[in-house]
Amino acid sequence: GGNNANTDGNDAAKGNTGTTNTSTAQSTATNAPGAEVVPAGALSEPFTATDLSKLPATAQKRNDTIIVGLTDPSGAFTPYFQQSGYDGNVSSLLYASLVTVDEKGVPTPELAESWDISEDGLTYTFHLRKDLKFSDGSPLTADDVAFTWTIQYDKAYDGGSQLPTLNVKGGKAYKEGTAQSIEGIKVIDPQTISATLEVPNATALVTLGSNVLSKAYYGKDYKFGHLEYIKKLHEHPLGDGPYKLEKFIPGQEVRFVANENYFKGKPKTEHFIYKTTEGDVWQFLETGEVDYASFSATEENIEKLKGLGFVNIIPYTPSTYGYMQVNLKHEQVKDKLVRQAIVYGLDRQSIYVDAAQGAGSVANIPASPISWAYTEEGINPYKYDPEKAKQLLDEAGWKAGANGIREKDGKPLSIHYLGSKSKNTDIFIAVAKENFAAIGIDFQPEVFADFNSLVSKVEGGDYDLVSFSTSMLTDPSEGFMQFFNGEIKDYDNPKFIELYNKALATTDIEQRKVVYKELYQLFNDELPIIFTNYKKTVYAYNGRIGNLTVSPYIGLAGSLPEWTLK
């Protein structure tokens, strides 16, 4: 998981595996899917280029190369060892995984043609395809998988992989150096491998079924407790994905060339390039320097993109949601009624939909509308209602005091808000200040340009509300992650824990759906965090590209091998 300093919504291939944060700053939440009313002008259907002749000559000339913009990757292209999600974007093209997820987030086979999960939900057995090869032609076997899993339990492992948190049996012993290998990992034959956990975990399938590192290449120099040698291999990756690394020019571009040993066959376009871009990429799309870019789905952006004539546009909803973390230790927001009043009293429609020009919608549960677990059944939409908010505050004992600010026991109702510096935060503060004043709450905002400073402040506990947004969520359980990684410690509702574990204990989707609905209703009422918004994005790409789809979970990587240039 990379430390997150404002990654921007405009980045191309967001959907990499494993290496992004659960939470990113609110500022990234420009875009959100349209669960609510879709405002006029926003895109609900894909749009096809109207006039390919307008395509700039630069883009016209390229016949076997596709260029996509990406924030500067650092060159640490070894999966599990990356500090930045952008390196993950690169490695997602270089490495295939055992299991992938479809556009609904449901696990589907990839390198593993099938898998079994034991009755108790503790043992996962993967059956690999035959004749799998790394890009150098060497075979990929269960030993490589075992090595990949094992190395993540090394004492010196400093990556952000979730695998160690799965508690594979014997992992701890290995890490402490008391065991030579991990008891729970068993290579059954060159095509079959299993892992046994200590407690059931529904996310284990995808976590275990991630990229595979070649033991012959990455494990050659491996000694327990010493992983420095891997750093030297970061810029010379050996993978099994659709593309091979051709050249990495720091700060400029990452060049790929098709991998003829890819198990699904060599990709249709020979060359692919990630070009380093920062922030606004309009100029690069307009001049044909990149073939593909994402924009927040504002009416203007869509208008302008349509006006270009040479791009296809597809609407897209990231699998994230925005929320405000509440400091449950503080008297004034400890009370559920106050939190509900805050939600009623905040004109979220204005902030996240109107001011965002339709590039967002209001969130009420900890899941993205595209998740298989998403539901609106029994969910209170908390429509903007200042009267209701006032009533709730009265009920909670906060009575109107001097100069319009409510008081209880002589203490004024003052909310200390933290946000990351961004245009959206500016809008939020402007509106919130007005909204809160209307219902008698004193609003004290503070903004931070620096994510680290913000987090430090939050860790210090000196806040009432702080805006965050999650990073990409694959499994619905990840929507509650902040309650388990220590970020939110003060919400102890036994019912929540019970339901959460129940949902993880089974891998049956229908069963899980039912549990999650209940969880969502609980959260919607209790509001241990305050839900704010979903983002809405569009992808625009060179009209010559065919077969392009973008998965919310794995981004371009899924369809990239199929892309063609007309």
Partner: protein, 307 residues
């Protein structure tokens, strides 16, 4: 020599009248300098606009009005509205209050500190010089970014109201940013020291304070005016940099810098020039007016200048 205090006021008055006629003469010369006067008038106008103008605006409450967002200039909103439907003209005027105050205050402060330390170093030489200049060297090597963030964290820790933080940060920045100014003043000081009139001051047995303030300082004032007026644009803009780091003013309070920053994307830049032209022009007009006025002021303060 006896002091005859009863006579003092009378003589004072005489002296003062001599002075004031001289002052009047300077003012007259200033009034004669058309260019400088036009600069002065523009500065005055900017001040009037920003401090008095909003009183006549119906939009001073800065109410958010989603129905009116991003409207082009028209009868109702002379300079159009922003992304939250707020009146740009009103916001430009309100922004000017902060931008002008901050710009002038930080300019004056940094020039003051720089001049003081530079003067002391250049005048006393020796140990004071060594210490000041070496501290300056040290300060030059310190990166600004962590300093800013540490300031920010401390201010947040100490619960300084957000409205005041910018001023404190500006103050601290001026305190940190003196080395450049100080070096320049010191250089000037070193050459002034060698001038014959300073030798004369030694022969007369004048006190250091008088040498410093009555003889040396007046001679570096032209330099200070030039430096100060050149800095004003940077000072106004630096506020927006502070805002960018979350150390400046809190929204929805506008400043010229953050109003221009709001147009930091291709679409606003291209399609909504009314978002950035008014604040941009305001800064431009202020900077150029203050510089022109500064030049004029320097000429007038220079007893020799005759053009």
């Amino acid at each position: 020599m006896a002091v005859n205090s009863s006579l003092a006021p009378v003589r004072r008055a005489g002296a003062a009248s001599g002075r004031s006629s001289l002052f009047r003469q300077s003012v007259r010369r200033l009034l004669h300098n058309k260019l400088a006067m036009s600069g002065f008038v523009v500065v005055l106008f900017m001040f009037a606009l920003c401090f008095v103008g909003p009183l006549f605006s119906p939009y001073t409450d800065n109410k958010i009005n989603m129905a009116m967002m991003n409207k082009a200039p028209g009868l109702k909103h002379w300079l159009g509205t922003d992304a939250l439907g707020r009146d740009i003209l009103t916001r430009v005027m309100q922004a000017g209050r902060i931008s002008l105050t901050v710009g002038l205050a930080s300019m004056v402060l940094s020039v003051f500190i720089g001049a003081l330390l530079g003067a002391v170093a250049g005048y006393y030489r020796g140990v004071a010089d060594q210490i000041i200049m070496r501290v300056a060297d040290l300060l030059l090597t310190i990166p600004g970014l962590p300093l800013l963030f540490i300031f920010g964290a401390l201010l947040s820790e100490w619960k300084i109201p957000t409205d005041y933080r910018m001023y404190i940060v500006m103050l601290m920045l001026s305190i940190v940013n003196w080395p450049g100014m100080a070096r320049m003043v010191r250089g000037q000081m070193l050459s002034l020291r060698e001038r014959e009139f300073m030798q004369a001051a030694v022969v007369l047995g004048l006190r250091d304070r008088r040498k410093l303030f009555n003889h040396l300082l007046p001679n570096i004032i032209p330099l200070l005016i030039v430096m100060a007026t050149l800095n004003i644009g940077g000072a106004i803009l630096s506020e927006s940099v502070l805002s960018f780091f979350g150390l400046g003013v809190m929204p929805p309070t506008p400043t010229w810098g953050n109003m221009i920053d709001a147009a930091n994307n291709m679409i606003d830049f291209q399609q909504r020039p009314w978002l950035w032209i008014p604040p941009g022009l305001s800064i431009f007009a202020t900077v150029i007016a203050i510089n022109i006025f500064g030049d004029g002021l320097r000429d007038v303060l220079d007893p020799k200048q005759k053009r």
